[in-house]
Each structure stands twice: as structure tokens, then as C-alpha cells.
């Protein structure tokens, strides 16, 4: 329950990002602000300060006040506001990818498990291959190609900086992780005594699918949802960190960590804060997942692999 | 007296308060005697057996009373001393032989493990002893079998292995908790015969936990009938079967299907079902189902009385 409360707070905070940028930090988190200054304790302070070494400039550190609460990044942008905006993208991508993943996995699992025979062996074989394929390499390869050019598939054109690219990629690569257990579940359900009994009674297959199989599969998918979202969150961060996820000027927690990498030794807050945000969210999601699993099926043995 | 259980009570701390599952149970077991504890599931008979081995691991269990084993109260024993007893002087076999053996070790290794805990025998001698024990259980080709894994054996074989393991350190007391319930009827008979034979060979006392009056009649010297956590009646097997004095015992015996004579419906022999631990009545727990019920039954539980033949019923003399 605590986990759920924390998630709500995080989501609410991210939704409030524009309000925060307008009323609290009072700066545009997507425009560089290299020459600006703010007033701190009555003194004007440059946002980009001359470095102690005398070479180059260092952005302002955390002020712990309204403006530049967590300091600025190397473009002089307010990090706190960017984290709130970035969180929107991170959450959106993780949630969107989870939706895609669960839908596809549910479909594939049900089709493979329920139709059996030839269709099942083909699908199971494909899942096996994808299972053996290094997931991160698949994600990275797809991202690297699509980010560099976007996707033109017939009438569909997706720009290379569209959020749809990371959402689709992350959503697809983990499909085998979920589809395999779903297929197993459907398979054992289809062979279970109560389904056999229904078949013997002449209940139509569609009705068995709707009444007996689907509810069970959906329960499993719900149990998987928070855990997959946690995993997707981490994957998005990794892709964005490798600069093949969310593309500038848009931000996500992963890209902000990347922004902070160059400032790591001088202004560590830029990289540390979004990492903490990711960790908090993922911990909350994982605990939520544990809770959901216990609520639905205390003996379920679902493990989401990394 | 090998085993003397006095006023044993077991209850569990639950969110709804203390749940008494076994109440004020007393019985004795003499050397090389077979005592059967009979009761329906939930009557507390298995829990009583586990408490004698001190195998109730639930931290919310509260056990009071005395369990004197060879004159020593094992409820106050320190854990290391208790461990020396467990598997040594007292051993236990369980209901489901399919799950009672660790799947990843050969059965030989599992018997050897127990022998090595309780004796100073070197491994090779322990192995020989394990094989001769298996042979004594009527297992042909014991040497071969001892190298098998549990999943490669049938249920009856596994129960023989369990018995061999339990007897491996010549225990004075063998507790058998529904040893044949999970087995086929033909195998059941073999296992029971084996237990009777072994009692003579190893001179062990046996505490037999069962719900099956038929098994009791075949094996036990004495019987204690448990109902809803209390002993309803106890006495010599022949006496009990010939003259049940508690209405519940009478009902149980009447429920045994007879080959000859009038057919009765086993399910309606005793109307109703035993009460759950948290909804036991204030008086006699059997009163709501009892045909001999009188006013006093609902007020206070009847006490177990009598020297050899004990009955907990206000109308003990009237049951026929």
C-alpha cells in the first residue's frame, strides 16, 4: 500500500511538471540559459559560473531554494524541473511498453497455447529463439537503427525522435518473457479437467476461451504488469543513457543521468537525483508487484528475469 | 511406562485470539505396546503426535502439559538433547511417502545420514546397515534399491524406506502418522503386517495415528478415540470394539460397513460434522451431534474417568 502511495505521489509530481516550471522554478527547462543569473540571499549569482580551475564554466549547484533547487545542467537548465518533465517520459514509456508487451504476450500465449499443433510449435520455436537472443542487444540494435533514421513502413512514418520508438522496442523485446509463461498456463488450462469436461459437454471453444481461459490469463498479466513496468523503466533508462532512447530536446531520467555524466565530479546532483528517482519508482513498482502477486495467487512462481 | 502424556494442550495464537486445538489429552504407552489414536481429520491427533517429537515449528503454537518419555519431560528438554532423541530413541513415519523423502538424495544416503547422526559408525558400516534394514523391510535387492532416488520408487516402496529409516537407530518409540492412508489397499495390508512383525523384532512401542477403525482392529493393543481435540474414550481394543461406551465411538463403529447383516448408510451414521476449533461449544464438543444429549452436556465438558477403561461422557453407562 505504501508502494502504491509512493507511486501516486511520483506520478502526480510528474504531471505537475509544467506547473512547477511556471510557478516554482520559473524557467523553461528545455531552453538553455547560459547567461542568466538568479538572486540568492540578496546576491546575484550567475547560473554558469567560472570554474575553480579557471577554465570553462560550471553550472550552479543545488540551491535548495525555489529556483534551481537541484542546480543546473551544462545548458543552465533547471535540473529539478527537468527531472519532473523527464519523469513523464520515463513513466509514459514504461507504461506504454508494458501495455504493448502484455497485449502481445497475452495474444501470442493464448493463440499458441489454445490452438496447439502446428501453430503452437511455430510460435513456441520463435519464442525460444527470441529467448536465446540477448535482449539488451536486440533492444540496442533496434534502437540504434531506428533512432538514426526513423521508421518508414508503407504509409506509417515514425520520426526518429518520437517516443513511440523506445515504447515499441521495449514493449517488443520482453514479449517472450511473458508469452512463454502465458503459453504454459493456457496449455495446462486447456488440458485441465474442467476444460475437458466443458469440451465433452459440447461447450463451444470460443466460450471456453472467453469464460475459462481469458480470466486466468488476465490475472497472470495483471500480476506481471508492475514487474514488467519496473523492468521497462530500467531498460528505458539504459537506452536513453546510451543516447539511443529518448532524443533531445526531450528528456527522460536516463538522458538526465547522461547529461550529468560530464558534470559528475563537479555537480554530482545532476546525475544522482534522476537515478534516485528511478530507484524509488522501481522499488515501489516491485513491491507493488509483490503485493499484487500475493493478492491474486500466493503460490504463483513468476519471476521476471533481468 | 515408556511414554506418559499428561494434560497436553496445544493452542495457536491467531488474530482472533487463542485457538485451542488439543485440550487436556493424557495417555500412556507401555513398552512394546501399540496404542492407536483414532479420530477424524482435525481432531488433533496428528498434532499430538508431532508434539511428542517436538516437531511443531509454528512460533504461534503454545504447548502446555507434560510429555514424559522414559520419565523425562521432553517439553523442557534443550534443543540439542531433543535432537539426540529425535530419530534415535523416538522416530516417526509420515502419511505421504511420496513427498517425505528429499528428492535429490539416494534413499541409501538418506538412511545413512540418520545412522551417522546417532551412531559413530563409519559410512561404509552405516551403508551396510541401511541395506540390511531395507532387506528386513522385505525389499529384494536392497543394495540396488539403496542407490535409487525417491522418485524412482513406488509409494509402497517409499513407505518401506521411511520405516527402515525410522527404525535405523532402533527407536524405543515409533510414531506412525497415518502410515497407510496414501497407499493402495493391498500395499496397506503389507505395510501393517510389516509394522506388526517389526514390533516383535525391534521391540519398539508404536503410537499409531489413524482414522481407520479397520486398521485399529487389526493392529492396536489399546485405542484412544479423539474428538475435537479431546480424548472421548480409551481402553483395550477388544473392549472398545465389543462395548463402546461413548456415543461417538459407537457411531464410528456403526459406520464401518458390514459384509453381513443390515446395510447402514455410512454417511448418516453420525449426523452433522465436527466443530472447527474456534466454534467449539462450552460443554461436550460432541453434544450437538449426540443422540444421548441431556441438559448438562451443553453446560460443561464431561471428564475422562475410569482406571483402564476411560470415557468422557455423562451417560457412559447407557450407551449400547
Amino acid at each position: 500500500m505504501l508502494a502504491f502511495a509512493i507511486l501516486i505521489v511520483i506520478i502526480a509530481a510528474c504531471l505537475a511538471a509544467p506547473w512547477y516550471a511556471q510557478n516554482i522554478s520559473q524557467s523553461d527547462p528545455f531552453a538553455s540559459n547560459l547567461d542568466g543569473s538568479i538572486t540568492l540571499a540578496g546576491q546575484p549569482v550567475d547560473i554558469m559560473q567560472s570554474a575553480d580551475t579557471g577554465f570553462g564554466v560550471t553550472p550552479i549547484g543545488p540551491t535548495w531554494t525555489q529556483k534551481y533547487f537541484l542546480g543546473a545542467d551544462d545548458q543552465g537548465r533547471d535540473v529539478a524541473a527537468r527531472i519532473l518533465f523527464g519523469g513523464r517520459n520515463s513513466l509514459l514509456i514504461a507504461a506504454g511498453a508494458t501495455l504493448i508487451c502484455l497485449t502481445l504476450a497475452g495474444l501470442i500465449g493464448i493463440v499458441a497455447g489454445f490452438s496447439g499443433g502446428f501453430v503452437d510449435s511455430i510460435l513456441a520455436r520463435i519464442l525460444d529463439i527470441l529467448w536465446a537472443f540477448p535482449v539488451y542487444l536486440l533492444a540496442i540494435s533496434l534502437s540504434a537503427v531506428l533512432i538514426s533514421r526513423g521508421l518508414k513502413l508503407g504509409p506509417v512514418t515514425i520520426d526518429s525522435d518520437s517516443l513511440l520508438i523506445p515504447i515499441a522496442i521495449i514493449g517488443i523485446v520482453y514479449v517472450p518473457y511473458v508469452a512463454r509463461p502465458i503459453r504454459g498456463q493456457v496449455l495446462s488450462l486447456a488440458r485441465s479437467d474442467f476444460v475437458l469436461a466443458a469440451v465433452c459437454l459440447g461447450v463451444p471453444r470460443a466460450r471456453i476461451l472467453w469464460k475459462d481461459i481469458l480470466p486466468n490469463v488476465i490475472t497472470t498479466l495483471i500480476v506481471f504488469a508492475p514487474l514488467m513496468m519496473a523492468l521497462n523503466m530500467l531498460t528505458e533508462a539504459a537506452l536513453s543513457f546510451l543516447s539511443i532512447g529518448v532524443q533531445p530536446p526531450a528528456a527522460s531520467w536516463g538522458t538526465i543521468i547522461l547529461d550529468g555524466e560530464g558534470l559528475l565530479y563537479t555537480r554530482p546532483a545532476v546525475a544522482i537525483a534522476p537515478g534516485l528517482a528511478i530507484m524509488l519508482t522501481v522499488v515501489a513498482l516491485n513491491f507493488l508487484g509483490d503485493g499484487v502477486r500475493e493478492a491474486f495467487d500466493p503460490r504463483a512462481k513468476i519471476r521476471v528475469q533481468k | 511406562m515408556l511414554l506418559d502424556v499428561q494434560n497436553l494442550s496445544i493452542s495457536f495464537r491467531t488474530p482472533r485470539g487463542l485457538l485451542p486445538v488439543v485440550e487436556d489429552v493424557s495417555f500412556q504407552l507401555a513398552e512394546s505396546e501399540i496404542l492407536a489414536i483414532v479420530g477424524e481429520s482435525g481432531s488433533g491427533k496428528s498434532l499430538t503426535a508431532l508434539s511428542i517429537m517436538r516437531l511443531i515449528t509454528d512460533p504461534n503454537a503454545i504447548i502446555t502439559g507434560k510429555i514424559l518419555f522414559k520419565g523425562e519431560d521432553i517439553l523442557t528438554l534443550k534443543e540439542p538433547a531433543m535432537r539426540r532423541l529425535r530419530g534415535g530413541a523416538m522416530a516417526m513415519i509420515f502419511q505421504d511417502p511420496m513427498t517425505a523423502l528429499t528428492p535429490v538424495y539416494t534413499i541409501g544416503a538418506q538412511i545413512v545420514e540418520q545412522i551417522r547422526i546417532h551412531t559413530k559408525l563409519p559410512t561404509w558400516q552405516a551403508r551396510l546397515r541401511a541395506e540390511s534394514l531395507l532387506a528386513a523391510m522385505g525389499i529384494a535387492d536392497a543394495q540396488q534399491i539403496s542407490r535409487r532416488f525417491p522418485h524412482q520408487l513406488s509409494g509402497g516402496m517409499r513407505q518401506r524406506v521411511m520405516i527402515a529409516m525410522a527404525l535405523s537407530c532402533s527407536p524405543a518409540l515409533l510414531i506412525a502418522d497415518e502410515p497407510t492412508t496414501a497407499l493402495d489397499v493391498t500395499v496397506q495390508a503389507q505395510i501393517l503386517e510389516l509394522l506388526l512383525k517389526l514390533r516383535k523384532e525391534f521391540n519398539s512401542s508404536i503410537l499409531l495415528i489413524t482414522h481407520d477403525m479397520g486398521i485399529v482392529a487389526q493392529t492396536a493393543d489399546r485405542v484412544a478415540v479423539m474428538y475435537a481435540g479431546r480424548i472421548a474414550e480409551s481402553g483395550a481394543t477388544g473392549d472398545i470394539f465389543a462395548h463402546p461406551m461413548h456415543p461417538y465411538t459407537a457411531g464410528l463403529l456403526a459406520a464401518i460397513p458390514q459384509l453381513h447383516g443390515p446395510r447402514i448408510n455410512a454417511f448418516s451414521a453420525i449426523p452433522g460434522a465436527p466443530p472447527a476449533p474456534h466454534e467449539k461449544p462450552a460443554g461436550c464438543a460432541f453434544a450437538p451431534r449426540c443422540a444421548y444429549r441431556i441438559a448438562v452436556c451443553a453446560e460443561r465438558p464431561p471428564l475422562l474417568h475410569g482406571p483402564f477403561r476411560q470415557v468422557a461422557c455423562f451417560r457412559a453407562g447407557e450407551v449400547a
Binding site: I129, V145, K306 | Q114, Q152
Partner: protein, 325 residues
């Protein structure tokens, strides 16, 4: 019989590897809008240059031929060269990077196995206690941290903030020193990456192990073990842990394979270790297709091999699996 089983596994492995290579090839060469020649020639290259590049790199041939050529250069003649730095041989570069990755993953695996077993067993033995709950919370936190972020924080602490304190003054600068060149420095330079990489897996494995142990401890055979007179420690280590390790071993095989196969990419990038992951990362940045192909295939081989080894290992450690075949 055994021979046939092995042969079948081998055929399966080859089939999976073939599928993966086709998939990777298609991703990079046949994605709509993708044009390797444009990437090689650079932005704004004239159509004539593009055509020349296309011809020089064999990109004007049909896709199956291109695929065949690449596989031939990769596996048979082993003289595949980079698109970006013409003349640079791919295979020696990958082989050179392997020891780095192996050093990293092997050390981390030792750390994570030791800690995961210690934490998992402790938590299971004290299940329900405050210690159990705090250990499991820490484990959850470990699983939930982005690895690259943890690496950066570790760098910040050991390289900058606290580098001049007694605690971390021994940490050498980022980078890799071959074991054969200076074993001590090899060890020192890898301690931090090992730890960072291990954290996630310690969290994951200790949680799985605890859950398995707690479940195992409710089994009938545990009651039997107790009834035999075994101490609680013996019960946990000999009976419960032995069963739970079966799951852990199969997890370990797959994770180890995935990491050696390039899964340690993020750590290698953050800690500046020139391993296979780093190579992949660099190749991806300039879309150096032969390099990508080589590293991905190398990774796939490791992962597929790990899968097979795990399956074989299963037969060894779980007697029930032997009976089932």
C-alpha cells in the same frame, strides 16, 4: 543414445544461431529507411559516391548474397573488416576484448554468488524477523538500481569525493590492466566494477533463494529431516538449500552467459573497460555493421551455449530430470 541427444542439441544450437544472425542482419540491412551505404559515405554524399560505396562494400548485391558474404567472412575466412575503419580486422579485435569481459564477469559472479547465498540463507533462516525484512528490502533496492547509475555513483565516490581518504586511495584510475601484466593492479582496477555489477544480481538471487528456501522449508521432506534429528542448520544446508540451488544454478548459467555475451555493456562503458560490451557500444555509435554482427553473434553463441550447458547441468543436479527423460 547420449551421442544422439548431443547431436540434436548441437543442431538446435546451430539453428538458433542461424536465426539470430538472420534477424540481426535484417535489422541492420533491411529495416525500411535504413541504408548502410549512406552511413558509410557520410551525410550529403553525392549519388555517385553512394553508388561507388555501395559497390565497394558489396551493398549493391541482393540481400541473401550480402548475408552469405558476411557469414563467409565472419566464420570461414575470418577476415571480416570494419566498414568505418577500412582494413581493421573484426575478429582479432573481439578476441582481444574477451579476456576483459571474462575478468569482469567472473569476478562479479564470485562476489554475487557468495553474497546472494549468505543473504538468502540468513533471511530464510530468520524468516519473518526484522533482519529478514531489512535484508530483503536492501535486496529489492539492489535490483531496482540502474546499473550504469550505480557505476557512476561508485566512480564519484572512489575516484573523486573520497579518493583521497584511506578507504579508497588504493583504487586505481578507470581502465583495465591485463592479469598477465600486473595481477595486483588487475585485481585493484576490477574491484569496483565487480561490486557494481554484482549488486543487481545479489539482490535478484538472494530474493529468489529466500523465496525458494522458505517454500522448501514447508515441504514434507524437511519435516522428515527434522524428525531424523538433524539440526536446523543441517536441515537448511543439506536439504532445503540443495533443492533451492537447482533453480539458482539454472539462473546463474543463463545470466553468466548473457553477461559474458555482452550484457555487461553498461558497466564496461561507465567504468571504461575495453571489453566486448564496449566494442559493441562503439560499433553501434557509428553503426559499424561488421563489428555489430561479430559482437552480437559472439554474444549469441555464449548465450546459446550457456542454455545448453544449463540443460545438461540440470540432468546432473536434479535426479528427477534424469528419470523424466
Amino acid at each position: 543414445m547420449i551421442f544422439l541427444v548431443l547431436l540434436r542439441r548441437l543442431a538446435e544450437m546451430v539453428f538458433v544461431l542461424f536465426s539470430i544472425s538472420v534477424l540481426v542482419f535484417l535489422i541492420f540491412f533491411a529495416t525500411p529507411g535504413a541504408d548502410p551505404a549512406a552511413r558509410i559515405a557520410g551525410r550529403g554524399a553525392s549519388p555517385a559516391t553512394l553508388a561507388a560505396v555501395r559497390h565497394a562494400f558489396g551493398l549493391d548485391q541482393p540481400l541473401p548474397v550480402q548475408y552469405g558474404l558476411m557469414m563467409k567472412h565472419l566464420f570461414i575466412t575470418q577476415d571480416l573488416t570494419s566498414f568505418v575503419n577500412p582494413g581493421q580486422l573484426v575478429i582479432p579485435a573481439v578476441l582481444q576484448a574477451v579476456p576483459v569481459t571474462l575478468s569482469l564477469v567472473f569476478g562479479a559472479a564470485v562476489i554475487w554468488l557468495i553474497f546472494a547465498v549468505a543473504i538468502g540463507v540468513t533471511a530464510a533462516a530468520l524468516r519473518g524477523s526484522v533482519i529478514d525484512r531489512s535484508l530483503m528490502f536492501l535486496a529489492m533496492a539492489g535490483v531496482s538500481m540502474p546499473v550504469f547509475w550505480l557505476g557512476e555513483v561508485a566512480n564519484l565516490i572512489t575516484q573523486a569525493r573520497f579518493h583521497n581518504t584511506v578507504l579508497f586511495s588504493w583504487v586505481p584510475a578507470l581502465g583495465y590492466v591485463p592479469l598477465t601484466q600486473n595481477p595486483l593492479l588487475w585485481f585493484k582496477s576490477l574491484v569496483i566494477p565487480w561490486t557494481v555489477l554484482a549488486v543487481t544480481y545479489i539482490g535478484l538471487y538472494s530474493r529468489v533463494l529466500r523465496a525458494n528456501l522458505v517454500e522448501a522449508l514447508t515441504e514434507d521432506y524437511i519435516r522428515t529431516a527434522r524428525a531424523k534429528g538433524l539440526s536446523e542448520r543441517q536441515v537448511i544446508f543439506r536439504h532445503a538449500l540443495r533443492m533451492s540451488l537447482i533453480t539458482l544454478v539454472s539462473m546463474f548459467g543463463l545470466d553468466f552467459g548473457a553477461l559474458v555475451g555482452g550484457g555487461a555493456l553498461l558497466i564496461e562503458v561507465v567504468c571504461a573497460l575495453p571489453g566486448v560490451g564496449m566494442l559493441t557500444y562503439q560499433a553501434l555509435q557509428n553503426l559499424d555493421l561488421p563489428f555489430i554482427m561479430a559482437t552480437v553473434m559472439y554474444g549469441a553463441i555464449f548465450i546459446v551455449a550457456a542454455n545448453t550447458v544449463v540443460d545438461m547441468l540440470y540432468l546432473l543436479i536434479d535426479p528427477r530430470a534424469r528419470g523424466a527423460r
